[in-house]
Symmetry: C2
DNA sequence: CGGCCTTTTGAATGACGTCAAAGAGTGTGG
DNA sequence: CCACACTCTTTGACGTCATTCAAAAGGCCG
């Protein structure tokens, strides 16, 4: 049931070139913990997709769910709109993250997925992935582990943040981004690049743009950050700033 | 690695009697969609646990994760405390729900699990479940589907609720409970029994007890509900009341 | 330079939390 | 059976935080 690339679809790759061993996201991907034989099996069913340029839609709410996507490079947001017309951003996803997880167990995606910058994906047909999980216990274990982490983040961490003031939530968000990038690129500077715009951050944090602006200024005044156009400089120690708030922003650090 | 029942542990059952076919929660359990041969296999590794009386702790935050639990009868809450000392309730669980899902992919549970009323559980050792999933595609599919629904609920639905006023959130919660019960017990009255106390509801909704009280009174004044001690009577039509709010409280109704 | 969009700033409104106190329900002991 | 203590729930007054509305300032691109 692997979708054949269609000639009029600009976003596909025959998959002949690269395999998982050469993938830059290898270390953060599902394949981290699985052996070579298994990777070779998996590689037959995956298909590289891209490039998706900034603002390009990867899938839409309501589209049939056929695949999961691993992000090779770039970043993605998932968003939808409530019946009242309020925009919601479910999550921001980066290199190595799984996209489309909210589609599992549903026939149709519950949100749009939109590229934030030039993005390459690795498409894993859903049923083929389930198949592979059956043959490779470690892969199944890794997949379940990721879903479990997402559930923890959704139920517990989200609730913990709900009662923080806007500036605290914002600071945690920035530190979270910092850690995500830090662990993947080895840059030592404390500048956090923002692939999404300020509007998206506001929506994600459940704030209006005005409130976000005020929260940013407040963090600047207290000397926690310096705010630039498309990046935020962390002035205080990310570790100590995160302390005092349990149970942690958490996705990806749970042990 | 199946835990042997310990003589000093009051909560276990040899598992000799009942099998999944006779279980009252069968229709809502993981086993809904799997065939008889598979159920027999699964049945060998499960162990019935109970009774947990109200307020009894099923597992504690920090305890090693070894099993998932399916709720046969009763109800459970998962809760933890933030570093600031604020209580958080992750979820309320009922007949057929999976308990311990936040433990998947982690070595230690991230929250306490506490019985709300007399509760019987069906214990599924984690690695045995993974094993079974490998042999029974439908079981794996069902499990993944459940995790996916939880993720949707956590990321999208939670965000959608964040900006509702207290009384709207409360009403949605009541309707959610109503549907949960309605779909399992066939009672036609509109009285929603509350196994948890009002404090827990307040915490779950992210409110103080005072705010919950005010929200209840407001719904009473508008004629939406009638508030009793341990139950709430729904006076308006659950369907139309839910309308106007996307994307739905959702867990269990996604298609 | 002028339109358009994003970001910032200010003042008013509203929702919920906090504090304080009273009322209701439950259990205990006289 | 009643008095008392204890807890949970309710109610009111007030403060805080974020939204809303309005408008000005800054960037970007024609």
């Amino acid at each position: 049931m692997l979708e054949q690339p269609r000639p009029n679809d600009p976003y596909w790759d025959s998959g002949t070139g690269e395999d998982c061993h050469e993938c830059g996201a290898r270390a953060f991907c599902l394949t981290t913990s699985i052996d070579d034989a298994c990777i070779r099996r998996l590689h037959k069913m995956i298909r590289k997709r891209g490039p998706y340029e900034a603002q390009r839609i990867i899938y839409r709410e309501g589209h049939p769910v056929r695949s999961l996507f691993a992000i090779q490079t770039g970043s993605v947001k998932t968003e939808t709109v409530t019946a009242e017309g309020r925009r919601i951003i479910g999550e921001f996803l980066f290199e190595g993250d799984l996209l489309g997880v909210e589609g599992i167990g549903s026939r149709h995606y519950a949100a749009d997925a939109v590229a934030l910058e030039e993005t390459w994906l690795c498409e894993l047909p859903m049923h083929a992935l389930e198949d592979a999980c059956r043959k490779a216990p470690e892969l199944q274990h890794e997949l379940l582990g990721r879903l479990g982490r997402l559930i923890r983040a959704g139920t517990l961490d989200t609730a913990a943040q709900q009662h923080m003031t806007a500036d605290k939530r914002l600071l945690r968000f920035i530190i979270h981004l910092y850690h995500r990038r830090q662990s993947k690129t080895q840059r030592s500077d404390r500048c956090v690049h923002l692939p999404m715009d300020k509007q998206d951050i506001a929506v994600y944090l459940g704030l209006t743009p005005e409130s976000l602006s005020r929260a940013l200024r407040k963090l600047e005044r207290t000397g926690a950050i310096r705010n630039h156009l498309r990046c935020i400089e962390l002035l205080l120690d990310p570790e100590e700033a995160a302390a005092g708030d349990a149970p942690g922003y958490g996705v990806g650090y749970g042990s």
